[in-house]
Symmetry: C2
Subunit: 365 residues, 2 copies
């Protein structure tokens, strides 16, 4: 009789829980009760705020099994939540994992997914303290809730930017969008830098250490992570607070891999950088006279920090070309539920951008 691969239906809910419990180390600092109880009991430190964030990944909407291996999916699902904690300057600590699984999901897929979650958790010393398992007939659904901590007087929020502040971003942007374009076959996989860009898309590196350095320095006025695209997330920092921003085209931090891939494929890398999203870098504002000190603090963590523009009292977002000319930069945040463009101003989608590809993938029919 041929051996058929085991599925989640073969081992049942409790079998799955046992598997998770085995891989996720139990207990640890601050964990009084974890997996196996209905509720985790956690000890938050005096003087710290609790941070709580949740993000869901739905198969066919946020990922496809064809374009990301299960282990990387697990790592990525946790990493994007870690990025939210990092954007407040916090320390990620405990996670709850809710999995919705089709009955025919191979057990090997679950094992790889759990391995990825555990690897990413280990990397940040996060404890998986609970969760939920349920059947989801058509699609795999991963809903992660991540809890973290930040010193009460060090948390950085989306609000707080002031006119005249410099706008800064860690690392490089646009890589993830370019990596997705390659995965979707819209840019040849043979371009130089392709594997690096794909890795940036599949496995973001949330900027926890940089975020901690920024928070502890007390020098930043506002911060967010770049998940919707630089333009969209900058809008949250300034436009949502009645301010504006000017971004210098010449100062955009583009990686050598992105520049090489763009050149080889005859693409403009800018749409990827401005509208691509999923970079999971930190975007922040700080007074001009604190930028040098802040940059040193961030670079001490091994991550670059680049000043890309400034906050203005005049509302709106602008892109400044090297000749000084300004063009509007529309805050085009990623909208999951929008079927038409009729009532909301959004940035025109640059042809061939990753954003356009995601719209094809995620937008309503």
């Amino acid at each position: 009789m041929p051996q058929t691969p085991l599925t989640v239906a073969d081992i049942g809910e409790f079998g799955l829980i046992d598997r998770l419990r085995r891989r996720f180390e139990q207990g640890g600092e601050g964990v009084l009760r974890g997996i196996g109880d209905d509720t985790a009991a956690l000890q938050v430190r005096p003087g710290y705020l609790l941070l709580a964030t949740t993000d869901a990944l739905v198969e066919g909407v946020h990922f496809q099994r064809a374009t990301i291996p299960a282990r990387l999916l697990g790592r990525r699902a946790l990493a994007v939540n870690v990025s939210d904690i990092a954007a407040m300057g916090g320390i990620p600590r405990w996670a709850l994992v809710a999995l919705g699984l089709p009955a025919e999901t191979p057990l090997s897929f679950i094992d790889d997914l759990v391995e990825g979650l555990a690897e990413q958790a280990d990397l940040h010393r996060i404890r998986i303290v609970g969760g939920n398992l349920t059947r989801s007939p058509e699609r795999l659904v991963l809903d992660l809730t991540l809890l973290g901590e930040v010193e009460m007087d060090r948390a950085i929020y989306r609000t707080g930017a002031r006119p005249g502040d410099r706008i800064l971003v860690t690392g490089t942007i646009g890589d993830s969008a370019a990596g997705l374009a390659i995965l979707l076959g819209q840019v040849p996989r043979t371009v130089p830098g392709a594997e690096e860009l794909i890795a940036r898309h599949q496995l973001p590196s949330p900027r926890v250490e940089a975020g901690r350095a920024i928070a502890l320095s007390g020098l930043a006025t506002a911060m967010i992570d770049v998940s919707d695209g630089l333009a969209g997330d900058l809008g949250h920092l300034v436009v949502d607070n009645g301010l504006g921003g000017v971004v210098d085209l010449a100062h955009m931090p583009l990686s050598p891999a992105l520049q090489a891939a763009a050149a080889a494929s005859g693409r403009d890398p800018l749409p990827w950088a401005l509208y691509g999203g999923e970079d999971y870098e930190l975007l922040l504002t700080a007074p001009t006279h604190r930028v040098d000190e802040l940059t040193r603090a961030v670079e001490a963590t091994g991550v670059s920090l680049t000043a890309i523009g400034e906050v203005t009292a005049e509302p709106g977002l602008w892109l400044r070309h090297p000749d000084g000319q300004r063009v509007p930069l529309t805050p085009a945040a990623w909208q999951h539920f929008r079927s038409t463009d009729q009532t909301v101003v959004r940035a025109p989608t640059p042809p061939g951008s990753a954003r356009e590809e995601r719209q094809g993938e995620e937008g309503w029919p």
Copy 2:
């Protein structure tokens, strides 16, 4: 032109977030940042443990739009998480709401769902501090994460029962399962007590005040809420800890509505009570000499407490008949992923029980 009802696709993700933000009161004690930021910033009190629990409801698996109105679905989704916090003796405080929505979901359905969530939150003074919105092509998915607090020295866990302890349960059990049987048409809706039983199924009353009274009394040794069925959850309290339990048939707290419905339909109410689940009552253990004091503490909150049996050193679960005869009571917890009964001992499903109906509804094909 006929007016078509608005759907979530018509207002987009940000329109939905605005709608949620309008209905869920912002700020409040302990909330430094809530809806609208990627991460909630919360202040946990010194001397308290943080409690964290998550539960997902998937359309067609855990509920059907035909059998529960959207408002009650919202209330129920939050209530079942509140019950998990209550089972640790905790105070529910903050919730994160992750919604997966088909594009064609009517906006009125969402409004009712949100209203239900807000009503239940108001009832327990819970703040909705964040969440996630995403598209879920086929099915509505509600994943709630609830955070709570409990005094460090008052938390009650699943572990801690000792041989000789009495087994106690709040309120009445089996009502929810009988209500579901009526909703599924397996018991006529005309039986006496039907509406009360349906209400118990659609809108559980998590025992927060009773749980607090039990925790503050310091008299209970272990506690859990009855979600999988009395037999299954008792198994978690005793069998999982190497102990056993005997339950007295004559002492099962059955409501007048359940007894009337059972009598009128010629059913035995016992399977509903033992295996039905979703009662969201509290099941606990306490030393015999503390039972009177504990009962008074619980009854002061307006909820009854009934001693139904005792913990034994001998492993296994038993049902004791009035003539003293014991029959095995299998710990038949609800297993979402189990397709067959081949490898795990489970209680025989009594014909016509709510458990059987749920198996038809939720089991693997």
